[in-house]
Amino acid sequence: MYIVVLGILFLIMTMTPLISKNIKISGLVTILGSISVLGIVLKIITLLYDGGALNYFNEFFYIDSLSILQLLIIASINVIVSIYSRKYIENEIDEKVISNRRGKFYYFLFNFFVFFLMFIALTNNIVAMWIGLEGTTLTTAFLIGFNVNKNSLESAWKYIIICSIGIGIGLIGILIFVNAYTNQDANQILKWSHLVKNPNIQNIYAIKIAFTLIFVGIGTKAGLAPMHTWLPDAHSESPSPVSAMMSGVLLNLALYVILRFYLIIKHVPGLENTKWLFIIFGCASLVISSFSILRQTNYKRLLAFSSVENIGIIALGLGVGSKIAVFGALLHSLVHAFGKSLLFLTAGNILSAYKTKRIDKINALIKTMPINAVFLILGMLVITGAPPFPAFFSEYYIIVGTVETGNYIITALYSFCLLLVFAGFLKVFIKIVFNNEAGEKYVKIEEDKENTLPLALCFISIIVMSLFMNSYLSSMINNAVSIICD
C-alpha cells in the first residue's frame, strides 16, 4: 500500500516538470511531494517501532530498522533541499545563468535521483540495489555538469569514468557472490532476507574475492579513500543543493549497500577478517582527508574532503563492530547528513552572494551576511563534533568502541585525525567570519535574508535529534544495531 503511494508520488513529481510550462508549479509540486514522502516514511517508522520487518510484493521490497534509518535521512534531507532548490533555481533564472527549460530539467533529474535513492533503501533484491546505485550515477552525472562550463564538465566526465568503472567492478563482485551459492532455489537466491538466513556457502574462496570486489567497487561510489578522487571535484562543482544531497545521502547509502553484503557473510567461519577492510579503508580516508583539509583554498572543496572524512569515521565504526561503536556509526551517519547539508546550503548562499569559491576573497562575513555567518559557525561546530551537538557523542562512542576492542593504535590515529580536522576547520571559518582587512569597509549584503528557512530547518532537526536522543531515537538506532551485531 505505502509502496504504491510512494510510486505514484514519484511519478507525479518526475512528470510535472516535463508537462507543465511554469517553473514555479514544478518547484511547488516537488516541495509538496517531498513533504508527503516524509509523512509516509514517518508512518512506516511508527509501524516498525518494536523492530521486526515489513514485506511487500513477494518480498521484493523489505523494510527493517536499518533501512528505516536510511529512509528517514533521505526523506528529511529531501524536504530541506527541495525548499532550498525553489529559491535557488528562481534566482539562477532571474540572473539569466540558466534558461527556463534547464530549470525544469533540473527538477526532473533531481526527483529521479531521489526516486533511485528511495529505491535502494527499500528493495530487498541485491542486484536491484546495484541497479539503483547505477541509476544515481546516471542522474547525478548531468546534475554535476549542470552549469555547463569548463570546470563542471571536467568534473562530470571524471565522475562518469571513475564511477562507471567502480560500479562495474561492483557488479562483477555481485555476480561472483551469487554464483558461490549455486544449488539453491532460483527465485530466492537474489533476496537479501533469504541470503542472510542461509549462510551455507559452497565456495569460501570465491566469496572472499567477491566481497573484496564489491567493497572496492561500491566503495568508489561511497567515496572511501583512495577511490575518492572524483569526490572533491564533483561536490565542489555541482550546484549547492545537489552537493548537499550527494554528500549527505548518497555516500551514506552506498556504504549501506556494502553493509548489507557484509551482514550476509559476517558469521561465515573463515571470513572474520573482512571487518579489516572497513577499518583499513576508514583509517585511510581519515588520514588522507584530514591532511587535505589543511591545505585547501576553496571552501566547497574543503567541505567535500570533510565528507570523505566523515564516511571514513562511519566505516571505521562499522568495522570495529562492538555494539557501542556501531551505535556511534549509525548516529554519526544521521548527524552528518543534517550537518553537512546545513554547511553546503550555507556555502551555496555565500557563493551566490560573493560569486567566488576562494577562501581568501571572503572576509568579515559576520558584518556582511550575519545570518549566514551564524549558521556557518553552528554547522562547523556540528560537523567537527563540538560537545552539545550529537556528533560529539557519536565520535566519542566510536573512540570507546576502539578502546573496548583493544585497537589502541587505531584510537590514537583516529583522535589525531579528528584534532587535525578541527584545527583546519577552525582556521578557515574563523578567518572567513571574523577577519577584518585594515582599511576596508564592510557593507551588509541584501541577499543575506534570502533562503534561510532551509538552514533553520536543518539546525532545528539537529537540536530535536539531541533532545530525543534518550528516548525515541536511541531505541530506533538500537533496533538497527541489533540487526548488525547479532
Binding site: I131, I160, G168
Partner: protein, 203 residues
C-alpha cells in the same frame, strides 16, 4: 560453435586495442557485440530458456544497431577521424592486451568456464582503452567493451529474472548515451574532445 565465437570476441578486442581510426574501432565493436548476441542465441537454442533470447535481442538491438549509429553520427559531426597521440603506443598496447589475456587464462586454467576467462580479458582491454587514450569518444568505446565483458559474465554465472537483466543492459546503454551527450557538450565548451584539456581542477 561457441568456442569459435569466443575466439572472434578475443581477436576483435586485440584488434581494437591498437587501432587508431575510430571508424575501425567501431567496426571491431560491432563484430564483438554481434558475436556475443549469437552466443546468447545459441545458448537459448540449446537450453530452451527464454531469457537468453531476450538478452541476445537486447544486445543486438542496442550494441550492433543503435550505439554504432550514434557513434558514427557524432564522429561525422565532430569531425574526428583518429586518435592522434596515444598515451601508450600501438605496439605496447598489443603487448599489454596479450599479457592481459594470458593472465586471465593462466589464472583460471583450472576452471572450464571459457566465458569468465574471456570476460576478464575484456575487462582488462576495456579499462586499457579508458585509461590509455585521450579522446573522450575512445574512452566511451572502452566503457562499452567493459560492458560487453559484464554481459559475458551474466551469461555464464547466474539465472536472473528477466526484468533485472533488462535493467542492467538498459542502464549500460543509458550511461553510454549520457557519455555521448556529454562529449557534445565537451566539444562545444573546450573546442576539442581531447581529455588533455582537462587541467583546471587540481589540488
Amino acid at each position: 560453435m561457441i568456442e569459435a565465437l569466443l575466439t572472434i570476441i578475443l581477436i576483435s578486442s586485440i584488434y581494437m586495442s591498437g587501432v587508431r581510426r575510430i571508424k575501425l574501432l567501431t567496426g571491431g565493436f560491432v563484430f564483438q557485440s554481434a558475436a556475443i548476441g549469437l552466443i546468447a542465441f545459441k545458448l537459448g537454442y540449446d537450453t530452451g530458456e527464454v531469457h537468453y533470447y531476450v538478452l541476445a535481442l537486447l544486445t543486438i538491438i542496442t550494441k550492433v544497431i543503435i550505439m554504432p549509429l550514434i557513434i558514427n553520427k557524432s564522429v561525422k559531426k565532430l569531425k574526428i577521424n583518429r586518435e592522434m597521440e596515444l598515451m601508450v603506443n600501438a605496439f605496447n598496447s598489443y603487448i599489454l592486451t596479450g599479457t592481459g589475456i594470458m593472465i586471465a587464462f593462466g589464472l583460471l586454467n583450472k576452471s572450464h568456464n571459457n566465458f569468465i576467462k574471456t570476460g576478464i580479458a575484456l575487462f582488462i582491454i576495456g579499462v586499457l582503452l579508458m585509461v590509455a587514450r585521450k579522446k573522450a569518444i575512445t574512452q566511451m568505446l572502452g566503457f562499452l567493451i567493459f560492458e560487453n565483458g559484464i554481459v559475458l559474465f551474466e551469461i555464464s554465472l547466474t539465472k536472473m529474472s528477466f526484468v533485472i537483466e533488462a535493467g542492467i543492459v538498459f542502464e549500460g546503454l543509458m550511461l553510454a548515451l549520457i557519455m555521448g551527450i556529454m562529449i557534445f557538450h565537451i566539444n562545444k565548451t573546450f573546442d576539442s574532445i581531447n581529455t588533455d584539456s582537462f587541467e583546471n581542477l587540481k589540488e
